[in-house]
């Protein structure tokens, strides 16, 4: 299996705070991996490092064997890395369809003049983009809402739309930041099925941040655990569940909590 996404020794500090320390990860094509940890462990910061929102102080990110850290987020997206957001960040004023079509623009070739002059290439691309976007909305089950403003969608559909928008960039790797946060149990079951479908259908490597341990343990083949920016464990779900360092990070040290906290801060 070939490696599509690799992080090597990523570190980032905000002032004196080490947000992420020596983070490494390897994802093969169509791998499904999880990134977990208590609140504030640095999970979303890792996503921001991978997608180019932050520049790492040290380390590198490789996508398909090519270094992408230092590139602009738009270039990294074009290279095949897409993401969703923990706090949903859709283009609220645009229609559902336009949200997806906007992201699909990264795979088109016709520029300003062609789009203003409406050349055959531009028109053909627009048709293809619209068609593909509708397919994605269909797949996510929100095609009937295509003309609505994104911000007017119910919460669960907004999460789905975020995924559709990310898929429109035709990624090799998809980063999902808490895809089932705030969902009820039946929605969670649906989302679980959806994640597995997407992975098979698009041959997609998926990295998932999630607090729902049931979901993570159930669908991920590999899990990395962060605490205070440090990787405290990595491995198969079964091994993670019984790892004492992980249990300590989530529940606190068994004998003396106060010392553990003062050491950490």
């Amino acid at each position: 299996m070939s490696e599509v996404l690799a992080a090597r020794g990523l570190s980032l500090s905000f002032g004196g705070l080490r947000a992420v320390n020596d983070f490494s990860l390897s994802l093969g094509s169509s791998d499904l991996a999880g990134l977990i940890g208590p609140n504030g462990a640095g999970k979303t910061t890792v996503f921001n490092l991978l997608t180019g929102v932050y520049q790492p102080d040290a380390g590198s990110v490789l996508l398909d064997g090519k270094q992408v850290n230092g590139k602009k987020p738009s270039q990294i997206a074009a290279a095949g890395l897409a993401r969703t957001f923990q706090n949903i960040r859709l283009f609220g004023e645009l229609s559902v369809l336009d949200n997806v079509r906007t992201a699909a623009g990264v795979r088109t070739r016709s520029g300003l003049w062609r789009s203003l002059l409406r050349t055959p290439l531009y028109l053909a691309e627009e048709r293809a983009v619209t068609e593909r976007s509708l397919e994605l909305l269909e797949l996510l089950g929100i095609a009937h809402r295509r003309e609505e403003q994104a911000r007017s969608l119910p919460y669960g559909d907004q999460r789905r739309l975020e995924i559709a928008r990310a898929l429109a960039t035709e990624p090799k790797v998809l980063l999902l930041d808490e895809p089932v946060a705030g969902m009820n149990s039946s929605e969670k079951v649906e989302m679980r099925g959806l994640i597995q479908t997407l992975r098979k259908q698009f041959d997609l490597a998926i990295l998932l941040i999630e607090h729902d341990m049931g979901l993570v343990m159930d669908i991920c083949e590999h899990i990395t655990v962060l605490d205070h920016g440090m990787t405290i464990a990595a491995g198969k779900p079964a091994a993670i569940q019984s790892n004492p360092a992980v249990i300590e990070a989530y529940l606190g040290a068994p004998e003396d909590e106060t010392t553990a906290e003062s050491e950490a801060s």
Partner: protein
């Protein structure tokens, strides 16, 4: 509402002065409003994508007017009247030249400050404005002498309604401004580029993560805004003919009123800028011809105050709720 009183009074004055004066005033006000709209769109577009007021925009408009003069005289259309294609040719040239100017300003002055606090960019914009005003006055550029714009449009009345001659130049100003505004509207809401612009305007960071080249969108936005201002500059020169030096206060005042129009309409909103500009044009010209011509600037700013008091987000703007 308290606004009722003045409106009724103005209505009575209009009836008292008769229909021809009303019609003439209406045409003048719509023509002026169209000019404001062309400038206001530049403010609102740039604010939409970058969230800052480009104070150098009124100077791009002034440069547009002066370049129109330069091109027209260079073609030798001062003594001899211009051919029919003269005006369209000058229009294309100034729009292209000012688009280039706007893009240059963006890349040299604003782009290096993309991550700086907004106040820095604002001050830089004022600096660019002063730079353009003063460079424009160099004798090798436009000079300090007022100039008379060659009339590229035949000075005749197109048709007559109720003894009022509707002049060709007024019709041209209104029609061309309308056409450009419709083209912009189409571009923003019906093309891929417009989609990208709206996405960047809504959330620049996410747009970038979705593969949109934000710098490219910003550059194109500046090009479009500046080209519209250039068209406004040419139309202004054609309608009002006298061009004062680039640092003259008239340009600043025109730019300021267009900015007021953008704010009144709801800054960042394309349709709002047009609506605000027409409102400002109507209020200014009707106030000037029915109440007192000395107070014409006052009416504009009164409108601004009233709108800011009643609907601070502008007549077509959306209320932004502060999260607490």
């Amino acid at each position: 509402m308290k606004l009722g009183g003045p409106v009724v009074m103005l209505g009575l004055l209009i009836v008292q002065h008769g229909f021809p004066k009303f019609l003439q005033t209406l045409v003048n006000s719509v023509a002026l409003g169209s000019l404001y709209a062309l400038i206001a769109l530049g403010y609102t577009l740039v604010y939409g994508v970058l969230r800052f007021i480009n104070f150098a925009h009124s100077d791009v408009f002034a440069v547009g007017a002066w370049l129109s003069f330069t091109f027209a005289t260079a073609f030798g259309w001062v003594a001899t009247s211009s051919p029919l294609w003269g005006m369209p040719l000058v229009l294309l040239l100034v729009m292209a030249a000012c688009a280039l100017l706007g893009v240059t300003i963006e890349i040299l002055a604003y782009r290096p400050l993309r991550k700086a606090p907004r106040l820095n960019v604002l001050i830089t914009a004022i600096g660019v404005s002063l730079f353009l005003q003063n460079v424009g006055q160099l004798s090798s550029v436009f000079g300090t002498q007022p100039q008379r714009m060659p009339s590229l449009i035949e000075d005749r009345s197109l048709f007559t309604i109720a003894q009022v001659h509707i002049r060709l130049v007024d019709v041209t100003v209104i029609a061309l401004a309308l056409a450009l505004m419709m083209a912009l509207q189409w571009m923003v809401f019906r093309t891929r580029l417009g989609r990208a612009m709206r996405a960047v305007s809504f959330d620049e960071k996410v747009a970038s993560l979705m593969g949109i080249n934000v710098n490219r969108v910003v550059t194109i936005t500046f090009a479009i805004g500046s080209a519209l201002a250039a068209a406004g500059g040419l139309l202004f020169a054609l309608k009002y003919e006298g061009l004062k030096q680039t640092a003259d206060a008239t340009w600043v005042l025109l730019g300021l009123k267009a900015f007021v129009a953008a704010v009144v309409g709801g800054i960042g909103n394309v349709r709002g800028a047009v609506a605000g500009a027409l409102l400002i044009g109507v209020v200014e010209v009707f106030g000037a011809s029915y109440l007192s011509p000395h107070m014409r600037d006052v009416y504009v700013f009164v409108i601004l105050i009233v709108v800011l008091l009643l609907k601070p987000s502008g007549i077509l703007g959306k209320a932004v709720r502060e999260k607490v």
